[in-house]
Symmetry: C2
């Protein structure tokens, strides 16, 4: 499988340099680390918001560094957790004196290394809190997790926590809104093709020309169910149905929806999915307050998408709709 | 080849409805037409800026509708020019009394149909001007064009003309800045894979596992040269070298660069390309004023990228850096 890369072992390092080269006034790389932070980090007097995880999910997470979202993002090797040392360095670099919230996708390696990093920072007097995101409704436990996986709903946690911190919230308040998003968000995804990692150079699972996987994760693991190819409408109904079953929302609730591309799917197809998704929201008696469509959390070159639904109240609408200015997501007043 | 679609013949129609469903406060579909316009079109007292072309290049063009860029975009069937009737309806809908500039990518069908639409509008008293974009340095003439093709540099024409119009420029002034971009921009692309159209369902050209195409267009046509797979750095050097040869810029010139994904290439790889591209700009004695990395003008699910370089002066920097607020591109002050 062909890729626009040089030596596969350099891909994360070169990607990070390429990001800084694109946004030199916004992003800064910590010396010798696979960590990007705001160019002006730490922001004194503001709670720092950081995240991180394996690479291969771009623009997650570094694309969300900027005003109103993240202060820092650590990038592990492809589909591999960042080390505790890297996470620790990030937390230190993003502490502006008001403490740091770590937004952690629920994978065992990520959780363990963020825990260790938090302990290290704590010993140096940095106040650290964590929120673990587990929005994937497809699984109870999975290949890499105890409990559900953290997937595209994580971006909404970045957004709400980032807005709360930008507005002057203290660490406890910022953590509380992050947890509120986690309690109100669900996601489920499908793959039309496997992804191909740079190191391996071939698909991580085989899938026939008339088959798809439902309930996929974002690390090339197969889904919970293999089925025959379906139409975009049928796939949308299946994914959204599972998410809505899990959320069990009262009629009339307002929601934010995301149709998220997995990296190899044209935007055209994501809009075709969004069309049916918004019809469905109406049929279910829900009101879409905002609809996001695009590649927010990818799995390299995988074709497919995930659907996220997040129930919103006045507080979450204010935070999710607040201004943000990052390479991958901009919200204007 | 699997796609997230329903009936292939409905894909453009359903995509457009899905876009409006995502941005109901920003976009409006003209009744019975495959045309999207600003929700508040026409903007009285402002020159209208419109574009259009075949579908399959999303977010081009409708993703650029909004403050500071386009007022309307017409979507033909996949890789097929919009009809003159559709273009005419768009021009009419976007005329706020100051005339309309049509930004046309150089393809025979597009140019012909925009010409006809302009004549129709002119007969009704709407002042219409056109600028034809032909930034692809790979070809002199091509399968679908007399002269060079219009590709990703077109987005910079939307941006500069849109900013000039938003700032109160008259039709002549807006056309002049659009032409200034055209004179100063060049692009060249490569394909690692062919794209697959919804109707055909299989690759439009065959390419071996160790081959790539250089000098591709955006309609699934093969490139001008087939070569062995190269590293990202080698590909970057080749593409950028051809563009810079064409532009022949004096040392010290400031430029805006775009690394544009063709639809199926992960963002990770585009940043790897950008890393080498920015090194090269330095080696060539050029100064990057701004660097864009992402999927701006795609070719369905094609893997590959194009590199655009646009020489900028004070006027173009002011216009390209002016605020814009569209689904696919937001520039903040």
């Amino acid at each position: 499988m062909k890729k626009l890369i040089n030596d596969p072992s350099d891909v994360v390092d070169e990607m990070l340099d390429g990001m800084v080269a694109a946004y030199p006034n916004r992003l800064r790389r910590l010396e010798g680390m696979e960590v990007l932070v705001r160019e002006d980090a730490p922001v004194e007097g503001k709670v720092g918001i950081v995240s991180g995880g394996g690479s291969g999910h771009e623009p997650t997470h570094a694309g969300y560094i900027g005003d109103g979202m993240l202060d820092g993002a650590a990038a592990g090797e492809v589909f591999t957790s960042p080390t505790a040392d890297q996470l620790h360095a990030m937390v230190e670099a993003c502490d502006g004196g008001e403490g740091v919230l770590c937004v952690v996708k629920n994978y065992e390696g990520d959780v363990m290394n963020f825990d260790t990093a938090a302990e290290m920072a704590d010993m140096e007097g940095v106040e650290v809190e964590q929120v673990v995101v587990d929005d994937d409704v497809a699984v109870e436990d999975s290949l890499y997790t105890s409990g559900r996986r953290g997937v595209a709903g994580t971006i909404l946690v970045h957004k709400a926590a980032g807005a709360k911190a930008a507005g002057g919230g203290d660490l406890g308040e910022v953590k509380a809104v992050a947890e509120k998003v986690v309690e109100n968000v669900g996601t489920m995804g499908t793959a039309l093709t496997s992804c191909v990692t740079p190191e391996k150079g071939e698909p991580t699972f085989d899938l026939g020309e008339d088959e798809i996987e439902l309930g996929i994760g974002i690390h090339g693991e197969p889904g919970t169910q293999r089925t025959e190819m379906m139409s975009a409408d049928e796939i949308t109904e299946h994914l959204a149905g599972r998410v809505l079953d899990d959320l069990d929302l009262d009629e009339g609730r307002q929601v934010l929806t995301i149709v998220n591309g997995m990296g190899g799917t044209p935007l055209m197809e994501l809009f075709v999915v969004n069309r049916r998704l918004q019809e469905l929201m109406g049929e279910e008696g829900l009101e879409t307050w905002d609809a996001w469509v695009g590649d927010y959390m990818t799995s390299l070159d995988m074709m497919g998408c995930s659907i996220t639904v997040c129930a919103v109240d006045e507080e979450l609408k204010e935070l999710l709709g607040a201004p943000a200015d990052t390479p991958a997501l901009t919200v204007t007043e």
